[in-house]
């Protein structure tokens, strides 16, 4: 059985169809990338899976259990961790306290949560910055903090929304290495959206292409980049997809 099942999910905003009849599956312990031009509905789909918005139609299952339409905190409790495209750190709190807030999801005591938070910050390479205010971090470190905070909740599925946007190539490479390690060590299933094709090609085992709110292609990365429909939708919209032709 697939770990995450998205079945015929639709969402409209004031009549505009953001996501229309989307279905796909993410196998357990794999990384799937969701790509598509701006406005294709990627973030909306993320918000539907994470419970930030309710789907108008369709069902979403995690490990067989329906999670579609649940509030975000219950989706998190069911095992879904997420990051935000526009990072949302708890700015007035320290890096450690940010991670502790996440870790309290699965821990009964603050001491236990602190222990878990410290371990997660270590995994993300943020241990040396634990006592800094989150507002003082660079963008790259804020992205890492987003992952750390989500990871601290002990998710089985991690949703990463545009992790690489705005990062320098070296920062992207470092974050890619960290994500691979974390995915292996924590036994995670990951669904990510990404514009940086180099990151997609480096991580993803499956690619789902979204266009005008619909799935137009899905398959192995190597096949997807040769898919005529995919190339068409990018070239047609004048999107610059770094590394698409590589």
């Amino acid at each position: 059985m697939p770990f995450l099942q998205v079945e015929d999910v639709s969402k409209a905003f004031r009549g505009v169809r953001a996501v229309e009849g989307v279905s796909f599956e993410v196998p357990r312990h794999t990384i799937t990338a969701l790509i598509g031009p701006n406005g294709a509905g990627k973030t909306t789909l993320f918000n539907l899976i994470a419970g930030a918005q309710r789907p108008d139609r369709g069902q979403i299952r995690l490990d067989g259990r329906p999670i579609g339409g649940l509030p975000a905190h219950r989706v998190c409790a069911a095992g879904v961790g997420r990051t935000f495209q526009l990072v949302k750190p708890f700015a007035g709190m320290t890096v450690l306290d940010n991670a502790i807030v996440g870790a309290l999801r699965g821990e009964r005591t603050v001491a236990g949560a602190r222990h878990r938070a410290t371990a997660v910050l270590g995994m993300l390479g943020l241990a040396g910055k634990a006592s800094l205010m989150a507002s003082h971090l660079t963008l790259a470190d804020r992205r890492r903090l987003e992952v750390a905070r989500a990871l601290a909740t002990r998710p089985s599925l991690l949703l990463l929304d545009e992790m690489m946007a705005g990062l320098r190539p070296t920062e992207i490479d470092e974050l890619l290495a960290v994500l691979r390690t974390v995915q292996r060590d924590e036994g995670l299933t990951i669904l990510l959206t990404e514009h940086v094709m180099r990151a997609v090609m480096a991580l993803a085992e499956q690619i789902v292409v979204l266009h005008h709110g619909q799935v137009i292609a899905r398959g192995l990365p190597a096949a997807i980049v040769r898919d005529a429909a995919v190339l068409d939708c990018y070239l047609g919209e004048g999107e610059s997809y770094e590394g698409l032709d590589a």
Binding site: A52, G92, M93, S131
Partner: protein, 348 residues
């Protein structure tokens, strides 16, 4: 000043908790002096000093209660006079009509205020009313009470409700009647208790969750926090704590007027202390309350002694303080003061 997004210079203070703490001894000595001074004040001070100190403790207590909602959980109430007034009227009404003292009625006052707080919270958070709209809603309820209590004849209406005053020299602990020092110590116990409770809460799950909600509600939801439930907890706790101050106020002041006790100025008076002292900090409400009373009421008293009567000088000084602190100390007086004194500046 309410924006808590950046607290640039505070991070440094939290970087060295594991090092041998050289300031610890000094802090203990300073805390010791503060405790001794607080306990000994009525023995040494004049009656004016005792009443001014009682007012400072009262403001510190209600400031602490308000800070739970705004400073910790980020929910701005501009109508906290509602809970002071309700707490006062419940306790005073019971005393005037049945003779039952505050030790019994304070529980009913707490229950009533918690229920009203829960109702406002339910209304606001279910309908997703937040920010400025939430503040306006809290004002609206306080105003509603102010107008409503004018029409309750059993509680004196606009003419006021008066508690029978007994011999001030005689200490009656059961009825909470006695000399000014009794009220001073009563308020001291309440303020110290509120400080202890808030210190515990901040270190617990509630403290972490409230701060997370204050900083970013969507992110808080995403890490599994039922933000509705924790915001409700903050509002109910804050209103229940304020109810106790209301009960105290009734027995201390002995007269209640809807126009005064539910007034908007009262709500503002409650929040100026914690804002001036340091929003979201443990000692901010105390430092703020003392600052307000020393500068505001101190100046008024000095002017009166000099034979000058300037109406509104107290409010003017509060306003000026708020202005200066907002410009020069956006995090309040306590964080920089704490650093200067060698305390860990805890802006939680």
């Amino acid at each position: 000043m309410i924006d808590s997004g950046t607290a640039p210079d505070l991070a440094a203070g939290t970087t060295a908790p594991a090092l041998a703490d050289p300031g610890r001894r000094r802090r203990q000595v300073m805390m010791g002096i503060a405790v001794v001074a607080a306990l000994g004040l009525p023995l040494l001070g004049t009656s004016y000093l005792v009443s001014a100190a009682t007012l400072a403790l009262y403001l510190a207590y209600v400031g602490q209660a308000w800070n739970v909602m705004m400073g910790f959980a980020g929910q701005l109430s501009l109508g906290h006079s509602l809970y002071v007034g309700l707490g006062a009227y419940v306790a005073a009404g019971i005393f005037v009509h049945t003779g039952v003292g505050p030790w019994a009625s304070v529980w009913l006052a707490v229950g009533v205020c918690a229920a009203v707080g829960a109702f406002i919270g339910l209304l606001a958070f279910r309908l997703r009313i937040a920010g400025v709209q939430l503040s306006l809603l809290t004002i609206a309820f306080a105003e509603l009470a102010r107008i409503g209590f004018d029409h309750i004849d059993a509680l004196g209406g606009p003419g006021g409700l008066f508690l029978p005053v007994t011999n001030r020299g005689h200490v009656d602990l059961l009825g909470f009647r006695g000399p000014p020092a009794l009220y001073y110590y009563g308020m001291l116990v309440l303020a110290a208790g509120a400080l202890g409770l808030c210190a515990l809460l901040l270190r617990s799950r509630a403290g972490y969750y409230w701060r997370a909600i204050r900083e970013d509600e969507a992110a808080a939801e995403a890490v599994g926090i039922n933000t509705f439930r924790w915001k409700m907890f903050a509002v109910v706790l804050s209103s229940a704590m304020t109810a106790v101050a209301g009960t105290f106020f009734a027995f201390y002041n002995n007269s209640l007027f809807p126009e005064q006790i539910f007034g908007f100025e009262r709500s503002v008076e409650i929040l100026v202390g914690p804002v001036v002292g340091g929003l979201g900090t443990l000692f901010g409400p105390i430092v703020g309350a003392v600052t307000l009373v020393v500068l505001g009421d101190g100046t008024t008293e000095l002017l009166n002694k000099a034979g000058i009567d300037v109406p509104g000088v107290r409010q003017g000084i509060h306003g000026l303080l708020l202005l200066l602190v907002t410009i020069y100390m956006p995090n309040g007086i306590w964080p920089p003061l704490a650093r200067a004194l060698g305390f860990e500046p805890k802006r939680i």
